[in-house]
Symmetry: D2
Subunit: 401 residues, 4 copies
């Protein structure tokens, strides 16, 4: 035990990579839950920046509760239409008045949502395909000066909160994460028929990996059923290539398995997201802070997106534990599976957690004691620089879902 | 009495122009009540056109209930900001399904509102300065085929409804109407400091006319208090010129009389409408169908804006009676004051009203019997062509507020 | 002219009672527009009382913008159900903080709406048949101390506003007003099949008066079509009796004329109001301050319900002019038709109007000059006691619709 | 491997009871997230029963997205008040029309919410302290007949979904679960000062268990700070007694640790829930299906509350895996730690999962092979009777949070 209560120990279990059955899921950027996460986080960043601009420090706020109510759409080859708009309600608390000045938090929140949607769900017309409203209750302006332009303090923990991070990703995790990311960037840039609502499910049994992709196609870029089938085949081929870049195991890819051509039931959308037709969404219901849902690993229930990155310990510890795990694995060789867990201590600065434990499965031939000191040094250093996490979150350098 | 129950008689009162005290008011295009009227009517037109496009006839709808909830703003010389967005709820009924097809009435309503606002209140950012939501209950699709692409029938009256129109406008009425219109077109085109929320009140006592203008100035075009004073003076001068074009009576113009320079209380806005700061609005609370509020004349309480122009008798009769009055006065000389009143007869086609009476004050030296036949012929003709009103309303050729 | 600018003159027109055609309408207590008026006014009274209780004076507020969005219902003989609840939004401004204390204006507004609905539309289940929400923007707390527990001042006019009142009511007006009131009290107490949404339209041509009643029947008290027909006949008989108590003219009464028994289309409701099925409503769209819509008489467009009775001149002048007219006619004999008009003067106390004119049609054989002094004395006295109106409005002793 | 793909194996890890650090949390019934869960599930049950009553089978719906927006309150010793009501939006899909009949899903949802709140958060006045609104999009009525009054089929899996359950609970888990339950029943029945928003956090390090309780006190039952302190002490004593009934380890209990008596900052509420003051909530953000948040164990991200229990595999598998784990441990001796995991197979009946694996840590001296057959038989039997889960969920016999 160090001053920061850092503990390094061998994991009492097999590495996830070596377990018999592994399940991994990622809800892509256009999934209704991810849209909620994305807007909540971009509203949070916008408010942080508003406060820094106007009063020189981040005031009290929390915007981790966006609710999306699905619309109804009538997709059609060549281009259909939204018939009932999506409704999205931004929920949270924010400081609206400081030093006698009114702060335009509602307008800023709406602008952040608009900009986020325009960038990430471009086929969705803001204000007509989706109505965005906002209910931000008044928070108090009396947050201590912990994160300002001129000075930054380490905040105190006022709650027992918990964060957990893992590294390295398993092959299946890498595949699930990167299939979605590559589809939504490299592939989509060239293939406008692919909408951002790409859900990827990975299942590994032994050495066989099944990747199931649900990909929302955009009707205005798909002329007929033949083009639709080609689009599905093209996504399948691309996903397979990405996947095989991360593993030598056998990989099977299936796309839009719920389609039923006989019944004319296919995954065709007007806007590229299932939010247009019956799929509601909200914050914290999808991906964890590392972008994945990993039932094989301990997860925090805490919603990371939208929380105030200055003083919300749950958010900071989730991001920090992930960051520590990744840094350790980057810098220290011989680790097959690493879990970092941080538990706050009420009334202490958050760089002095109650527990900071690293559970390690080493590579064959590596002894824990050989790397223990290196790991501890990194954990100690990252904890010491905990406020970097706040800065990065505000700057948008960390993803939260 | 004719078949159409047309009655022409002398008015049992003095012409409004000759009454001792006259009061006239107009809420300009940017007033919260007028914004509500304008959106309700543009939503109505958009739905009529949607139905004509999709199913060849106008289906059942009614959108005469827009509610605007004011926002909060922090105007400042050189440019302030909206801090709490305006909320606007489009309310009504519309047919959402016809012959198995879903009709995008909500999306179309939102688009109509967006387009209307962008055109008429351009400084108001749709979706961030104002949140527009929609609640259109489901109407039935079984309206008889009264107004379609291929055939048009005269609808039956199913209610006792009443419309009233007047002509010619008195000098004071002309002044109030045209001061607002000229300010919001000729003047505003050259002077961006003037916002669309221009309210004009006219009061005539004997031969003295007082015109009071409340004009919302737009802060980004006003650098300081000096420029504000110049803007006020400039509006005053312009309004005076317009007014004096309609009368030889004495005219006094006062602009923004509630300003208090000592207390720094002036009519400065961010967006050009008082809806940004505390002034709510709704349909049917402001101008009547002829664009004016005229307590010296009988008025219909019926909201004209937003109603279905195919079968809403109140709307049709208000527009038609105004149209008849104007036509008569255009074509028949010697009329000092004319009031046309239409009263429907349940169960009869609306071109056969229960009462269609014209009350006339003739010019000195003119005898009613000399013009009676001409007046009656025009009333008869306009009634016979009642469906023209529907067409013009759908095409936007008639103003409703 | 007196100090209060009181002017008494002969009307330049025939008494309404003697005009050839007269139209009068009243939307009963359960009509969607009246529900909106009633809630707006009861919220207003509740806020006045809240402020008086908590801070000893009425603070700034205005709640004259309730919007009702109709629901959908499935009435059935013996008892049906609401399938889509009504939505009602209370809109306005209110002072939420005073001297550091938070004032529960939103909760109080909701309670007022609940209590009002429970009393007047008892079959409507609050919270499930109707969802009531509230959006009260923040008003400023800096209203001058004009109406408090300990001192009451006459407020200044800050706007050009106008009120108009009439007395006595014509026979047709008396009939329309009292048919609704008696149906909704005496009759309904004994006959639970009658809902509060009773709309009465009166039309007089010469000496023949047609009364048309639209009466919402409540399905749980109507077992079958036979009972429905009996209920209609019973309402018709009752209304006829009431009507004939006010006139010797010929009276024809028709109830639920839009019913079509062949098509099974009757006016049957679950809750006693058409708001349950497609009829939206909002404040200021129905009855004027005297409870009637009277196109034969000058009317103010100003919504009276929901406005702040301390300082809203439009409300005060509408109530006061009606009160003056009624008092004059009560106390002075020989008046066949009286119109009182009040016009405010910006910057002057509201008991010193710019114009206070009485236009009188005397009874045959009565000369205006004989009663002029009496009338003027009453007008002067009522103006002097203008703050009584505020008190009575707060206490609920004045109806506003 | 059996036909149902049941696999029984030794866990590759230490029993949670024997791990060095264990963290467990439970958000009590009155926590904003739990309120959302509770309403979502009660709405779900109400809709299931509505459909069974009206059409004899459960139609398509999903109501797993309730959003709670916190209010503002002014608690005070002896009784304060809610100043800004809580807003709660019920979100989801439901079939509104079947065989031509309208089904009152919105009204039924609101009634379910009202009844739930009245029962579980009795100090919260429905409709005034909390505004409940509903947005249920239209679902299709064409669900196959899988769960009706007369016949019940096992539904097909149409998605890859995952459920996980555990038994027996560790001592810390038992304590956390039962401290909350006992406080909210036995204790609260006798002590009205305790509100339902009781959050319990358990942390075990080695053999020392720290229990932290955050308990919302209800102001109307607390006269002053002395009574508040007594209430806190009383909760602490009671919780300690409950806790020590489940363990021989050392137990420390702390209640309302964030209180600061010097600053007058205590956990006093008007209604017994922090939702009244700034704490938002939504479905699926709190407890898992077994009532706990257990970062030491694999958890499903799937929200269980509000989902359709007939055909939502995620819900069924979460409830079923928990049920299986508990049944196995009840009936088979020698198990120290059991995890049941179910993974669906697209296109197969849900009683034939892709994977049904049991991972077991046996008690010292027990060999897995001795109990394997018994475990497998139970798993097989419960899977065969999977539709019992649906029945129990509809009847409210299973808790979901």
């Amino acid at each position: 035990m160090t001053e920061r209560n850092i503990s390094i120990e061998a994991a009492d279990r097999t590495a996830v990579e070596d377990q018999q059955v592994e399940i991994v899921e990622r809800k892509g950027i256009g999934h209704p839950d991810s849209i909620s996460d994305g807007i909540a986080e971009s509203v949070s960043r916008a408010l942080s920046n508003l406060y820094l601009d106007r009063v020189g420090k981040v005031l009290h706020y929390n915007t981790d509760e966006t609710q999306l109510v699905a619309g109804e759409a009538a997709p059609a080859f060549g281009g259909g239409e939204v018939v009932e708009p999506i409704y999205l309600l931004i929920v949270g608390r924010a400081t609206k008045k400081y030093d006698g000045e009114r702060l335009p938090v509602d307008s800023v929140a709406l602008e952040a949502a608009r900009d986020y949607l325009n960038e990430h769900i471009p086929e969705l017309e803001f204000g007509t395909d989706i109505v965005v409203d906002v209910k931000l209750g008044e928070g108090s302006g009396d947050l201590q000066d912990v994160f300002g332009e001129e000075s930054v303090q380490v905040p105190m923990a006022n709650d027992t909160s918990f964060g957990v991070g893992h590294a390295p990703l398993t092959e299946t995790e890498e595949i699930v994460l990167n299939v979605e990311r590559e589809l939504n960037s490299t592939y989509a840039d060239e293939n406008p028929h692919l909408g951002p609502d790409v859900k990827v499910m990975g299942k590994r049994e032994g050495d066989e990996i099944d990747i199931t992709v649900a990909a929302a196609m955009i009707d205005s870029y798909v002329a007929d059923i033949q083009e639709y089938k080609e689009a599905v085949a093209s996504v399948e081929e691309f996903a397979g290539e990405v996947a095989r870049g991360y593993t030598d195991r056998e990989v099977n890819v299936a796309v839009n398995t719920a389609d039923d051509y006989d019944e004319g039931s296919i995954y065709l959308t007007v806007t590229g997201t299932s939010a247009e037709q019956g799929d509601d969404g909200s914050v914290g219901r999808g991906n964890r802070a590392n972008g994945l849902i990993t039932p094989n690993r301990p997860m925090s229930m805490e919603a990371t997106s939208g929380k105030n990155p200055v003083n919300h310990i749950g958010k900071i510890y989730n991001l920090l534990s992930t960051d520590i795990a990744e840094t350790v694995v980057d810098e220290v060789d011989g680790i097959r599976d690493l879990q970092i867990r941080l538990l706050s201590q009420i009334g202490r600065p958050i760089d002095e957690p109650h527990v900071a434990d690293a559970k390690i499965v080493t590579d064959e031939g590596v002894v824990l004691s050989d790397i223990e000191a290196d790991v501890e040094a990194i954990v100690d250093d990252r904890l010491a620089n905990v406020t970097d996490i706040t800065r990065q979150a505000i700057d948008g350098d960390l993803t939260t879902f």
